[in-house]
Each structure stands twice: as structure tokens, then as C-alpha cells.
């Protein structure tokens, strides 16, 4: 309490015991554009206030002037560590809103891509936690295997980071054999890597002492703060959108939801690692299911939605109806039904929700992104107050904050 007393005194006055420290907006310890104005007493954080919005790009306003398919590239730029999940989340929202039935094979292919994205997201987050506690090796080592994931994206959609993967109704093309070969390579090589990554950190004494008991939160507080995803599960609440509101046929898969107890940095790390194992198992199951489709069924990669799914280019040249749809889609002349929908998917760092309001026009009347890290970043001062400044850095990286998503 003593520390709080003189906090509001002007800088330089003799009575003032605390120091005002400005971390960010660009700082090596923040991994993104984050600013925190902290009051510190020695090395202890007395209070902190975040500033957000440095890379605000008015996505919600932009979305009001774009057709549905033009919004997909916007969603890439939310959580860019797992953009395929955002893309799929948006497609699923549109499909639910338009009441499109998606073939099972498309669902399973989507699950493969989404779980790969989850692995790459958790991999970045956990290895960055390692970097911030002084272990650079893990980060460098796993980057090589994130590359394998990016190569699979590249084979499926042609791009790597901001993927714009898939279309409303399915995928733009069928997965090639190369994509499946790359997936098999990843499934073969990755478990060994993840095991080694875990052996570098999980029982590492320095790592444990740096992360255990720092940045903790109780389940009740976490819920009150709107935590979702691994951060909420680390606090002990087994809420996962994949199970609570299954999308893309997640109900067909057998997996468990790892939970922690204390909600501290160490638990968040463990939950993410455990989720990567679950994701691997889901990918294996999905791959088996995809392989079980034979003949014509193995050629299905999109649903039949002529109003939103671009026809094949040959058909556009040779078939009147396809030509008409092609023009209607490209010019955005398809009117949406009236109504509203809230649809959520389990993103890399929490529940990524899309609230779409349509007035019957060609673009959304209003589109709101429920961005998980925007909501849980509010809790940051509470998590770090009273702790060491160096723990605040670890806490920030273990929350998996992505500036692009935070600022939308």
C-alpha cells in the first residue's frame, strides 16, 4: 500500500518513490505493437495501463462495403499466426447464415487445415515464452517445423501467412497429392520435435521458476474478464467452442480438452503443449477419414452454392449459366437474406466470433469481430500488479496477444 501512496506525484518530486516506465509501442520485449505505461517501485509493478489501437485498420467499417468473399482477406489480418482458422470461421459464419450444407469431406479437410493452424499458433506462442525466459533454442528449432505447415498451406491455397484459404462452400481446388505427402511428412516428423521441445522446457528448473506462480488468475476472474481459449482452460474452465458448439463436424472426432489449475504462465504453456498433441491426433483422425473417401466422393471439395462459389473457368467460357454466376459473384450482385447471426470458432487464442447483421443488401449491414485477445488483454494489469517487471514480459507473451487481432 505504501507504494501506491505517492504514485500521482509529478516526476522528479522527492516524495515520489515509484518510477514511470514506458514500455512500447515498439519494444523488443513486447513482440508486437503494444504500449504499457507502468509505475514501478524498484522492480515491482505497482500499476499499469495499456494503450491499444496502434495498428487499427477499421476492418468493421471496411467490411460494410465489401461482399462476403472480399471479407475473407480482412480476416487473415486478425490473428495472423493462425489465419486459416479466421478464414474458415468467416466461411462457416456465411454458410450458417446462408444455410448451406457442407459435404463431410470438406469439413474434414477444413479440420486438417484448422488444426495445423492451431499447432503453428501455439508453437509460436510457446516458443516465444521460451525466448522471454532466456531460451532461444526452442524458438529457432521449432520454426523449421512451422515451415512444414506453411508449405502445406502453400500447396493448398498458394500463400503462406495471410492465406485467404478456402471459399464460401469449400476449397478453391482439391488438395493435391503433394499436399497430402507434405501432411504425412509433417505427421511423421512433428511428434519427435514436439517431444524434444517439451523436454527442453517442461521440467526445466529455470523455466519452471520463471513461469510458475506468475501471471496467475482464478477461474472466476478469468470468466469475468471474458477469457477464452487456452488462457481460460489454464485457469481450469473446460470451455472449448469445438466441443460446446461444434462446427465443421468436430463432433466426429475423439479428443480431450486439456485444463490447468492455477491459470499462471506455466499452466498456459502446458495447456498449449497438450493441445498441440490433441491437434495432432485430430489431424490424424481427419486424414484417415479423408482417405476413406473413394472414387467420385474423393473429388468433392466444395458444396453446391452457385450464388457464392465461383464456377470453374472452363465452364465460364462454355456455359451460359456459369458465366452469369461468375459475373454476379465478381460484381457482388448477390443479395443476402435479412437477419443476424453470431457464429464462433475456436481460434488459436480463444473464441473468435463473428456477429453479422444483414439488411438484405449485398454487403453486411454490420459485422463485428469478437476478437479474443482484445477482450482478455484488459486483465493484463491485474495479472502483473505486484509482480516483477521481468515477469510482466513473460506474462504478456504467454497470453498470446496478437496486435493485428487486438486492434482490428
Amino acid at each position: 500500500m505504501e507504494a501506491h501512496k505517492n504514485i500521482d506525484l509529478p516526476q522528479g518530486s522527492i516524495e515520489k518513490r515509484t518510477t514511470t516506465l514506458n514500455i512500447g509501442p515498439t519494444h523488443p520485449a513486447t513482440h508486437g505493437v503494444f504500449q504499457n505505461i507502468m509505475e514501478i517501485d524498484g522492480e515491482r509493478v505497482v500499476s499499469s495501463e495499456q494503450t491499444v489501437g496502434f495498428i487499427h485498420r477499421a476492418f468493421e467499417k471496411l467490411a460494410e462495403h465489401r461482399n462476403l468473399y472480399q471479407i475473407t482477406p480482412i480476416t487473415d489480418r486478425l490473428n495472423y499466426c493462425s489465419s486459416p482458422i479466421n478464414n474458415m470461421g468467416w466461411h462457416i459464419t456465411c454458410e450458417r447464415f446462408l444455410k448451406v450444407e457442407i459435404p463431410k469431406r470438406v469439413d474434414y479437410l477444413r479440420v486438417i487445415i484448422m488444426e495445423l493452424a492451431r499447432i503453428s499458433d501455439h508453437l509460436i506462442c510457446n516458443s516465444i515464452v521460451g525466448v522471454d525466459t532466456g531460451a532461444y533454442t526452442g524458438f529457432l528449432y521449432v520454426m523449421q517445423y512451422r515451415e512444414l505447415i506453411y508449405e502445406i498451406y502453400e500447396e493448398v491455397c498458394g500463400s503462406r501467412l495471410t492465406t485467404n484459404i478456402g471459399r464460401i462452400g469449400g476449397f478453391e481446388r482439391n488438395f493435391t497429392n503433394t499436399a497430402f505427402t507434405k501432411l504425412e511428412k509433417f505427421l511423421n516428423e512433428y511428434p519427435k520435435v514436439l517431444k524434444e521441445f517439451e523436454s527442453l522446457f517442461t521440467r526445466n528448473r529455470i523455466f519452471m521458476e520463471r513461469t510458475q506462480g506468475t501471471g496467475g488468475i482464478t477461474a472466476a476472474r478469468a470468466m469475468n474478464y471474458g477469457f477464452t481459449g487456452p488462457n481460460l482452460r489454464a485457469a481450469g474452465v473446460d470451455y472449448d467452442v469445438r466441443v460446446a458448439n461444434p462446427y465443421s463436424s468436430y463432433q466426429d472426432f475423439d479428443f480431450t480438452i486439456p485444463v490447468g489449475t492455477t491459470g499462471d504462465n506455466y499452466d498456459r504453456f502446458l495447456v498449449r503443449n497438450a493441445e498441440m498433441w490433441q491437434s495432432l491426433s485430430i489431424i490424424k483422425q481427419a486424414y484417415e477419414k479423408v482417405q476413406s473417401f473413394k472414387g467420385a466422393a474423393a473429388e468433392i471439395f466444395h458444396a453446391d452454392v452457385p450464388e457464392y462459389y465461383l464456377p470453374k473457368k472452363e465452364d465460364v467460357y462454355n456455359n451460359m449459366e456459369a458465366l452469369i454466376w461468375h459475373f454476379k459473384i465478381i460484381m457482388g450482385e448477390v443479395h443476402l437474406p435479412k437477419g443476424q447471426i453470431y457464429s464462433a470458432v475456436e481460434g488459436g487464442n480463444g473464441e473468435l466470433g463473428f456477429y453479422l447483421v444483414s439488411d438484405g443488401g449485398r454487403t453486411p449491414f454490420r459485422l463485428h469481430f469478437r476478437r479474443p485477445c482484445f477482450i482478455y488483454y484488459q486483465a493484463y494489469p491485474e495479472l502483473i500488479t505486484g509482480g516483477m517487471l521481468s515477469d510482466a514480459v513473460v506474462t504478456m507473451s504467454s497470453l498470446n496477444l496478437i496486435a493485428g487481432e487486438l486492434d482490428a
Partner: protein, 166 residues
């Protein structure tokens, strides 16, 4: 006992009578409206009696054509135990967009209300720190209101007619 949309609706009507209205279940979420003066009472009731202890989302929508109800604030609440969601919306006039803050009940509402203030100018009464969050502090308008066009309006290909609302 499983919580159903109908049960929630009955409970709400029993407690608030005609103050809650326009019940609809499009896309499986029960959505309903209430008066702006009642929002906290309804949210508190949902929290205490029906277990909606998680505020999923809070945002604004601007309907410029609705007289005296131009700004709508939408709450998405979630009951984790029964796994059911509801959507509550309240409408306020654009001249006097006063809404009671939910941030005393949900810490998560704090920034979401600041965001709604930032983009729609909704004045959340009782909010501890109601200032702009994503936009610059010097901004003197509320950009997500429909009166602010996005693009250069001399471009005819970006005319409203092209978006189906001529």
C-alpha cells in the same frame, strides 16, 4: 433441468412483463429486446437466476432510419453450464445515447464499452474510464455511424445502389 429458449423467455416475461419484447430464435440463439433503462436489471437477472455468467460480446449497430432508436447496443451472453447463448439488444436515440454500464458486473465489458463508445458514441453511464480506445483521442466523430461514408463518394461504382440499398 435443461435450460431451453422457451423457458428463458417465460422466465423473462414473468419477471419483466412487456418490458422485454421481440423474442426471436433465428440461428438458434434466443434474441430479444428491452428498454435502455432496463438493461442492467435484465442482465443481472440473467446472471443471477439463469446462470448467464459470461459476456461473450458487446457491440453497437447503427440504424439511421429507426427514429429515436438509431443506436442499438447488442449483448451476447453465454451460460457455460447449460451451454446456451442469448442475445439482448437495447435501442437508444442518437441524440441522447445513454446506456447503463455493465462493467460493474463484467470486467470484460470495460473495453467493449469503450470500443462501442469509440465507434458509435454510446455514453455508458457509470463507466469508470469512458474514453476512446482504438481511435486517436482527438477524433471528434464516431466513425462506425452510417452517416460517415467510407470511400470517395464521387466514385459511382461505390454508390449505395451498388450495394443493394438504392
Amino acid at each position: 433441468m435443461a435450460l431451453t429458449n422457451i423457458f428463458i423467455q417465460e422466465k423473462l416475461v414473468e419477471k419483466f412483463g412487456d418490458q422485454v419484447s421481440t423474442f426471436a430464435t433465428d440461428t438458434d440463439i434466443l434474441s430479444f429486446e428491452t428498454l435502455a433503462a432496463n438493461n442492467l436489471k435484465v442482465i443481472q437477472f440473467l446472471y443471477d437466476e439463469l446462470g448467464f455468467t459470461f459476456l461473450t460480446d458487446l457491440c453497437g449497430v447503427n440504424y439511421p432510419d429507426q427514429k429515436d432508436a438509431e443506436i442499438v447496443v447488442v449483448y451476447h451472453l453465454h451460460n457455460f453450464i447449460e451451454n446456451i447463448r442469448v442475445r439482448l439488444s437495447i435501442a437508444v436515440p442518437v441524440e441522447k445515447p445513454d446506456v447503463f454500464t455493465a462493467s460493474k458486473l463484467f470486467e470484460s465489458a470495460n473495453w467493449m464499452e469503450r470500443e462501442t463508445y469509440d465507434f458509435f458514441g454510446v455514453n455508458f453511464i457509470g463507466h469508470s474510464n469512458l474514453k476512446r480506445i482504438l481511435n486517436v483521442d482527438e477524433m471528434d466523430y464516431f466513425p462506425l455511424r452510417k452517416e460517415f461514408p467510407l470511400e470517395d463518394q464521387t466514385r459511382i461504382d461505390k454508390d449505395d445502389e451498388m450495394f443493394g440499398r438504392g
